[in-house]
Amino acid sequence: MQTIPMLTILIFLPAAGVMGLLCLRKDDHEWIRRFAFVVSLLELIASVWFLLAGVPLGSNGYKLEEFHQWISLGPHLDAPQTWINYHLGVDGISMFLVILTAFLTVVSILCSWKSIDKRVKEFFIMILLLEVGVVGVFLSLDLFLFFLFWEVMLIPMYFLIGIWGHDRRIYATIKFVLYTMSGSILMLIGILWLYNATGTFDLPSIQLALQHGGLVLPRSTETLLFLAFFVAFAIKVPLFPFHTWLPDAHVEAPTAGSVILAGVLLKMGTYGMIRFCLPLFPDAAKRFATPIAVLAIIGIIYGALVALVQPNLKKLVAYSSVSHLGFVVLGIFAFQTVSMQGAVFQMLAHGISTGGLFLLVGMLYDRRHTFEMSQFGGLCAPMPQLAAFFLFVALSSMGLPMLNGFVGEFLILLGTYQVHWNWASWAATGVILSACYLLWSYQKVFYGDITVEKNRTLPDISTRERAILVTMAVITLWMGIGSTFFTDRTASASQAVIDQMQRPQHAEEAIVPAPAKPSRPAPGRPANATGSAIAPIASAAPRPNSLERLGTR
């Protein structure tokens, strides 16, 4: 255990920032912005510093773990005392997601500098609270804690869309919250069920118990649990057909909200699949792989086709997210190391490129107060720089090699193809379609003659905007060319997910009903007399309040 609780700092630094903001005068907008910006920048620096140092290259398992007993739940099963724990940890996958969150928070604060002028203080408080929730989700290793942060994140987002959104903001924000909530209820049931069966909310302990046969789930139970978690995450991703909240939420959200929504909130869904669905319920995941992949492929093609015909630029980008996230889900459910690596990479790349697209669309909105493409046209002439950045980001989004979008998509398709050539072939049509909708919209907005007189005098990007865009462009290039910096660091965590899915099969063949020991995997599941009931794991499961297992991994 390290002495400085780094992950706690990462989660609650923005919360401390909120405290600070509360002390500032309400109408002192400039200082509110500056303060929020400094806090988010500190958070970014801290996340890069702590996490890159804390998760050494090639290391396995969770790092920088923090473990404290938090809420006592009294005796349960054989244990005299069970706890909700404050358990944090980070691995190669969550590390980059946290850094991405911190980065996009800085970006969204910068991009709201001018465009938010009512309730400024509340706005930045909400942004920082959102960061607390999202970082918490990525760092929690306790199911209860995870759920807590998952819900915490909803509240600021609700207000961000509902207060600072556009015309139909109330409809959009209620839709967003209800969609997410209906998923989280299912997940809550799943979490409670797991606690009931194991006496702990601790993710690694449950994982160990499941892996080593301490807890055996009958097929039907595993299916139900898998679906409970999966649906919650699928809504968040969003996977077709759970996606219809997304276009509304995006179109109505302020730019900062869209950037964070697309950049990191959607990734909470795919992250959840990687972190929970696959390692906890591998057999069910395998059983459902085909229907899920089909939904993902439908999402890829469907999202792209609907994006193709949107007259509203922001909606177009929103639907393109449906398409891109379909790739991620496909990569996850192909259960290949290569495609898993691709999926993780794509999550990061999509955060940058789609975040960038929303940013640019927001800049256009700031100038013209519309998203309708028919209101634009010929913008290359008045704003050549914005046009150049837009093209750059669009190219990265459509997966041009040497830019970030390519690596993820390529690895996902390559890995998927190795086991399911037909999945990959269908999904690869998305590569054609993404070029179609991005180039068509680009032409409508930037090429040709100026049709609306107002557009003739639009100002090009400001220094502040240029700073954001240049940073994003540099990251885009870096990810595209130096992708190994990222994939090397996500490699062992991705591999671990695939490995965790390898579980002893065929309970009937197990000879020795050996109780699972944390240090040594049992050869098979313990034979079970009734076949339907679940073996209690209280005796076999590691004591949740002991940290012995940390030493073994």
């Binding site: 099963l77 839709k175 209800l178 069966a197 009958p218 039907s220 139970t221 057909p241 996606h243 219809t244 086709l305 609907v306 193709l308 015909v309 290949q336 190391t337 290569v338 690596q341 691709g342 990479f345 010929g378 290359c380 002439a381 041009l400 090699p401 040497m402 690596v407 390529f410 690895l411 398709l413 390559l414 890995g415 193809y417 190795q418 050539w421 990959a424 072939s425 690869a428 049509t429 590569v431 054609i432 070029a435 179609c436 180039l439 068509w440 032409q443 090429y447 040709g448 003659d449 060319i481 992708s483 190994t484 994939t487 090397d488 490699a491 591999q495 339907s532 009931a533 679940i534 209690p536």
Partner: protein, 663 residues
Amino acid sequence: MPILDHLWIIPLLPLLGSAINGLLGGKWPHNIVNSVALGATGLSFACALEAVREFVSEPNHQALVHRHFFDWISAGTFTAGFDLQMDQLTVVMLLVVTGVGFLIHIYSTGYMAHEGGYYRFFSYLNLFMFFMLILVLAANYVLLFVGWEGVGLCSYLLIGFYFLKKSAADAGKKAFIVNRIGDFGFMLGMFLLFRAFGSLDFTTVFQKAADPSWAHEPWGQFGTMTVACLLLFMGATGKSAQLPLYVWLPDAMEGPTPVSALIHAATMVTAGVYVVARSHILFVHSETAMVVVAVVGCATAFFAATIGLVQTDIKKVLAYSTVSQLGYMFLACGVGVFSAGIFHLMTHAFFKALLFLAAGSVIHAMGGEQDMRHMGGLSKKIKYTYWTMLMATLAISGAPLFAGFFSKDQILLGAYTIEGGKPLYAIGLLTALLTAFYMFRLIFLTFHGQQRYDEHHVHVHESPWSMLGPLVILAVLSIFGGWLALPAFWGGPDYFANFLAPVFSGGEASAAAAASEAAAHSLELPLAGVAVFTALLGFAVAFWLYIRQPGKPEAIAKSVGGLYTTLLNKYYVDELYAAVIVKPLLWLSTEVLWKIVDVAGIDGTVNGIAHGTTSLGDTVRHTQSGNTRSYAVWVVIGALVILAVIFLWPYWSAARPVAGMVR
């Protein structure tokens, strides 16, 4: 510092040039912008020359030079490095790309002098050079794909250079999207190769492919190799504008003329041929793939030539001619004479670049006019342009001793000698006839006959030397570029084929052409005679129709009205694609997917549930009536239900043990 160990410097120079001009050039005067651009390309050309010198002077110069620079992508078992390689095939491509590219850069300084966006143009042009050099130097398919997509991007940017014009923006977009369709195939081809061979490095893939013992056949009889080759070839048909994906190239003529010369004639469009030649070891293992390549190439050659017969836009004629000539190159690959295909690629780069640049000079002279019906009689006024263009026309028509003569003959010979290749030969020969005809038609319409423009409006002037210089150099190359194969004609060594032999030795040995080399040799002269006669015939017809009987073509066009309009409208292929693919897709997306599935279906259901919940709540609300007696009734009903559950529970649970209950 041997360049051979630092091959990266060759593509990096143009990239630097592009970045400098792109970021800073906007504020610079023209001469600084073009010094940067020319300097970058010229240095790159010099480096390429030095690298080639080092390569051929290596003691073991048969061997391929392979350099690893850094890992680009790696995940699981897959790695793709930033690896560059140099072998004989690379040498040819490298010299063509940097050499012709440099000349076209020089030309552009004159041609673009009065255009807006000067720095932007050179920035894109240099960027193109970077990607094209990556493409030819890459040592694995993924890096090749970088160049492959990158040149497509530059093509998009340069076709749409005059982006205020809708037709230009449309053409750029079309080029990129049609290329993407091909890239889709190319990517799947890569995936399949990785699945079969576990690597995408050329050396590994080709070594394993050449080994007959490899046994990974997921598609049984049809064969991995066939599928992989066809998928790669699909990419090639996109990039090299072959049937059915050729539609973008004629439209690409919206770009500035130097772009047409560099990208859409000399270099980028030959990338597909390069890929097929590079992967020849895969192709020769699949007879099906070879036949497909040959037939598609041959069909495209003929098909495009027929369209070229009636076009009136000078650049459009050249565009269809390019499509047609690329078809020849694929025909060569398909019949197994890869070195002939590459030879034609090289000579074509010379004469077609020259044709385009000369056409650009004509357009320049005519103040932007591209329609040959409004030209005529220019030969006296722009002499240099006329003579250089005539040399290129002779070369492409296959006049004896000009560059195109040798390369085309080798291809036709290859088609003739291969088993079952006679129909291909016949169509190839017919295409040669058409080629000679439409090229001389172009010359006669443009430079001879009556003057058909208004001299008061058009001030015809010869181009500056910055444009004529490259024309002259390319004219020299168009005349002598084929002489590498001259000795072979009299039974001596074929220097070009011998030079490429280390690359193609694996593939060509199996080709039928090599098996009967002696027979082929005796055929060479008669076949060449036939080809020359055909070319003469094409010339004679064009001469008769456009010089002797200037009214005749119109009369003929009228008499075969239907055929003529079909050709003029390019067989209505664009219209067909629009009607069959684009429109239905857009209709489906708008009317079905978006409005019905998304809005009415999914959202309708969700909102329906919301409304249902509201009305349910509304109904249930009435139970909270505030009436004490109704509450009492509810209490009784509730108690009865609970009692029933308690008493009936044991029976129920005994019948069905509850799964999942914890002890």
